[in-house]
Symmetry: C2
Subunit: 199 residues, 2 copies
């Protein structure tokens, strides 16, 4: 009667609370933990507390950092005249993987969404404005998600920044590379046509 | 550059080691942990070490237990003349959910599988034989999985037990309740025809 054992049930509940993890998966995960050696289980538990204790937010860009500053803000080789604004630390990781962008980042930790009671004050817009005072930054690239909320956030921020004489740009919309045109939705396709370039 | 932060990467790796968890899911789980409060993260980590420390195997049936004996073996109300033999503790939980079976269990922790180098000595068959010496048990129900390995294990155990004068039975094969005949595989269907009963 595994479901009667409190420590096991507790562990299953912990896994089940995660988004996208159903009861069966949580159960499988809990049994995986029981199958670990004592050292491995301790290492797993430590990884959780350690990640939680050691990882904080970068004082400048609000990205995740294990120090006062994140690796990008600390780096001497990054172009300090461009800031790419994203919603989430995972977006920073995604852009870093392209190895194309050499500027700085700013993580908003969300997007403006009146439906969810998230206004401009609930995300890190103030912190972004504070970084722009010294005249070093020429351009802000709004890389918020291509959703209604991300779009609204990009518009809101651009309206704040334009009077400060800063160029505000937005990621290009279009068909994803490698995708099949047949399956592209109409909005994406019409944006791709709108933004067409000469070859 | 989230993928550069050692504590985060370590946590992602811990999740990714679990069967059926890919990199993206592991990443999402790690971010879920970062989003927890300090207390919640500690509770999560404790659940892992606690489940690992407190859960052992029942001395009689080898099922999981948080004590010397599992709740079924401890119970006074169970029928001690029948033992249901399963491969895995999860199978005990599945059978308990039916609320039909009132006997005892025995968990083999695997099935005979020469391909994976698992012979009769690698699973808890000795422990099962040891329980049958006192003449209390009349019947052993083999509820190993309906796979080649489960089948082989059931055959092996039944050959050992029959000379001891114990009735050995096997779960019925047939079409699952609520399923569509159209999608039943041929082997299941022919077993269902073979095992047909009068109405």
């Amino acid at each position: 009667m595994a479901y009667n054992l409190a420590p096991l049930q507790n562990l299953i509940n912990q896994f089940e609370r995660m988004q996208g993890i159903g009861h069966k998966t949580a159960q499988r995960m809990a049994f995986y933990v029981l199958g670990l050696s004592r050292e491995e289980a301790n290492a797993f538990a430590n990884a959780i507390t350690e990640a939680h204790t050691k990882i904080k937010q970068c004082k400048i860009c609000c990205d995740l950092a294990d120090d006062e500053l994140c690796p990008v803000c600390k780096s001497e080789s990054r172009d300090k005249s461009v800031i790419c604004v994203v919603e989430d630390p995972r977006d920073v990781a995604a852009i870093e993987r392209t190895h194309e962008y050499k500027g700085l980042y700013h993580v908003l930790h969300g997007a403006i969404s009146p439906m969810d009671n998230i206004g401009p004050d609930q995300i890190r817009i103030k912190e972004l404005i504070a970084r722009l005072g010294d005249g070093v930054v020429d351009e802000v690239i709004m890389a918020t998600n291509p959703t209604v909320e991300g779009e609204a956030t990009a518009m809101y921020v651009s309206k704040l920044l334009k009077p400060m004489g800063i160029t505000v740009s937005r990621l290009a919309y279009g068909v994803p590379v490698g995708a099949d045109l047949e399956y592209a939705d109409e909005v994406t396709l019409s944006r791709a046509i709108e933004g067409r370039s000469l070859i």
